[in-house]
Symmetry: C2
Subunit: 509 residues, 2 copies
């Protein structure tokens, strides 16, 4: 390239990056508005807030799909690019193409129908009457199929929707992994159900003052290494985390009779926030400073929740802190007791968000199979409740009595979020694969956790996952971090050995 051409290319790239940064910043601004709405906003603020968020979306959409952006992408792709720049262009191209292929009218209609769907779903759930929600769900399925068709009329619409949340692993991988989980976990859960093992599941019974719980949660975040200069903890009805590498916040919820649930939710959201905080600060504003998609994000939250928070080593460190705060409740509890309580496989839980580490995936698989079939046109909306209940019976051995505790339990479909659910399981599976790799690289990781020394794990995750942002695609990132392709082997080994031991299952130890 002549030096003049190089200057020109460099100017094109720099103007392109300005646009990308503006887009990213508007996106993060929208994120702050979302956080505030969930955590701080008085209820009456909703009408104005919806309009503010929608204005940001509209402006973002216009910038992303503008002729200038399209031309810049074309120009850059036609020239030579460093690997890093090529990654940035790849990510923006994908967003641009998806956004540009869907008519703005359809986007707005989906947004409107979803807004209206929320209270309809809520009422249907309260009245335990799926038929009230069915027409709305039908409309959303239609609209999202139409949406997928605009993006790619030649591919399975569910595949297209799935890629909104996980663009690089492929829906076939998701399907294969979820099928394997079902095949191997259904008998494992059955074996657990039949086990006579007597776990200390009543360790956390009773009422736990929520202020003290919050104090504990702050302590656990301290212990794990949360950076309060770049984060905060608040409560929200549905715990979530949000933000960027300069300001990644965590929410949780406290209830007097579920201290363990609150702690695990806090650790889970900490995992998300830690990923965000590990993104390179100097790349803020471009895909190199942005987290990879849902699978990787969920792998980080599940890694901290399950592999750290539910481990014996963690409780060696943390149990004394709990005892200090609740001496009258836990004075006699051993690390083993807490470990057992934290890893109990519930007998008859129908609710995903209250599920244990093992049965959790059954909840995901049921919804995945149903939403996939709905979008593919292989299942009618009216048949959802029965199919749902049948699958629960088949996979979990329990049958919901009501739609409220069945197919109406989760809000996601009312948002029009089809294709999102599988990433919950894919993330858990990846968490195990990553943690296995970290265990190989970090000597005596359990001892370090028991000592409260989380620096090696943070360093490992930052080095192998966080600092790359969207530099690599999901599959490349996994290969780089673990030396292997994405696989469910580690996860299945892990749950078999863990629950085999806990529940004294001869076939699984």
């Amino acid at each position: 390239m002549s030096s003049e051409a190089a200057d020109e290319a460099s100017e094109t790239y720099s103007e392109f990056i300005d646009r990308v940064e503006r887009l990213t910043n508007l996106g993060h601004a929208g994120g702050v508005l979302g956080w505030d709405q969930e955590v701080m906003m008085p209820e009456g603020g909703t009408p104005a807030r919806s309009k503010q968020r929608s204005a940001i979306s509209t402006v973002t959409h216009e910038l992303l799909t503008s002729d200038e952006m399209a031309a810049a992408l074309d120009d850059l792709e036609a020239g030579e690019l460093s690997d890093e720049r090529a990654s940035v262009v790849r990510e923006v191209r994908r967003q641009h193409d998806r956004a540009a292929s869907v008519p703005q009218d359809l986007v707005e209609e989906i947004s409107e129908v979803s807004s209206e769907a929320m209270p309809v779903w809520q009422e249907a759930k309260e009245e335990d009457d799926f038929s009230k929600f069915a027409p709305t769900l039908e409309r959303l399925v239609e609209l999202k199929r139409e949406y997928a068709e605009h993006i790619d009329p030649d591919r399975d619409p569910y595949e297209v929707l799935f890629e909104e949340y996980e663009p690089y692993l492929g829906v076939d991988t998701a399907e294969r992994v979820l099928e394997r989980l079902r095949e191997e976990l259904v008998p494992l859960v059955e074996a657990v159900r039949e086990s006579d093992a007597d776990l200390a599941t009543d360790t956390f019974e009773g009422e736990f003052d929520t202020d003290t719980q919050e104090d504990l949660a702050r302590d656990v975040l301290d212990t794990l290494g949360y950076d309060w200069d770049h984060g905060r903890l608040d409560t929200a009805p549905h715990p979530f985390s949000s933000g960027n590498q300069f300001d990644a916040r965590v929410t949780t919820r406290f209830s007097p009779d579920e201290p363990l649930g609150a702690l695990m939710a806090t650790v889970h959201e900490f995992g998300h926030a830690t990923y965000t905080l590990g993104l390179p600060r100097e790349e803020y504003g471009t895909p190199l400073g942005k987290s990879r998609d849902m699978t990787v994000h969920e792998s980080q939250s599940r890694l901290w929740e399950n592999h750290v928070g539910r481990s014996r080593a963690f409780w060696e460190r943390f149990l004394p802190k709990v005892k200090e705060r609740f001496p009258e409740k836990l004075s006699d509890a051993s690390v083993d007791d807490v470990y057992e309580a934290a890893n109990e496989v519930y007998e008859d839980n129908l609710i995903r968000v209250e599920a244990d580490e093992l049965t959790y995936h059954m909840h995901i698989i049921v919804r995945f199979e149903i939403e996939r079939d709905l979008i593919r046109g292989d299942l009618d909306v009216e048949d959802v409740p029965e199919v749902w209940n049948d699958k629960y019976e088949e996979y979990l051995g329990i049958r919901p009595d009501s739609d409220a505790e069945g197919c109406l339990q989760d809000i996601h479909w009312s948002h029009g979020d089809f294709g999102y659910f599988p990433t919950y399981s894919l993330g858990s599976v990846l968490a195990t694969q990553l943690y296995a790799s970290a265990e190989e690289d970090i000597e005596n990781i359990d001892e370090k956790v028991a000592e409260g020394d989380f620096d090696p794990l943070h360093d490992w995750l930052t080095e192998n996952v966080h600092r790359h942002g969207c530099r690599y695609t999901t599959d490349e990132l996994i290969r780089q971090a673990t030396g292997e392709d994405y696989t469910a082997d580690y996860f299945l080994d892990y749950v078999k050995s863990k629950y085999g031991e806990l529940y004294e299952l001869d076939d699984y130890q």
Copy 2:
């Protein structure tokens, strides 16, 4: 107009309104980011937040100055418009013209220099060394003069800058009113200083638990009628209020030795929020649903702070609540004691934000005269400290020992905010004029306040001020609300009679 032409005009207007609403919503989104930054954001979030706010500003500026907006304004002005629509067009035209006349480069330079100015000012203040801040101040003065020149090269640059904060009263009015205040308040303050009256100024001496103070502040907001479904109270280093008619929030600050200051700050910010909440909800997004500028906004905060919060009637209602919370401190205090404490004229206070209702204006006048002369080129930056100190001696009878307590005390100049200060006094003056009018219309207003019945006052303010948004210009609004032109007569009568009585001044009762 033919019906076809009418349809076309109506479509032009409706597209124009879409643009205006988008602009407003982006502005409010920026407001949420600002609130969060002051109240919630962890400190480390600053770099990302600055970029997010700047992205919103850039996008807003582009939309406001776009060719489409210019064409829509031209079209609408060329046609016939209802009074209401003409008001909307007038307001947007003003914003558009100002924004379009200043080169984006200059706007960005001012924004950059102000960002850098803040820490420089802070350091200069800490080290009590004006010379450290002088070069930055000089640069800001230059840039803002340049800014004003772009908007209108033929007018006094201070006048042009002043109109950014108060576009309709005119800088000549401001100058006339402030001069009159100086002439009449300087001797009044002197008389107060010479008075032998013994006020119960020690009523609030001691340490007051800040949690209990907050509880009190919430109670006073309840009593005054703050709508918690559309607002919230938090703390911030510099109390402020922000939001819109669906969500108008208040901040205050608590310090153990200044319970009265915290209460008055809360009531002041409540006044701002109440104005915002009184704006018509159905007009959200356009100038008809937007508050008039700084003078009117400040009139609302000062009305509640001074005419309600510092009145005997208010304390009849409120003192029992204070006593309940601080029985060991205030058990013997009478309403007169509290009234005297709340209206003490301080002997030697040099700090504006800690000033009483009377000497407050001296602080404003000093800064107004200095900033005006700086912008007009009649004063050199290097002479500011001495001129400042001389004026304090002349107007208040006290001379600052240091620049930290003198011309470096306030942050505003480091923001490049020249022309803002006078609206503080103009607002207080307007508060008195409005309250006098309300007193005429509401029978026995004092009794109602003493009973905690604030509905009539809310109704009066909503009817005469709030509901109009930017429908009228400031001067029209004042005439409509009070039947008179803007005048300082009421304010001067009010302070003379109030402080004449309090300090037993023969010449003033």
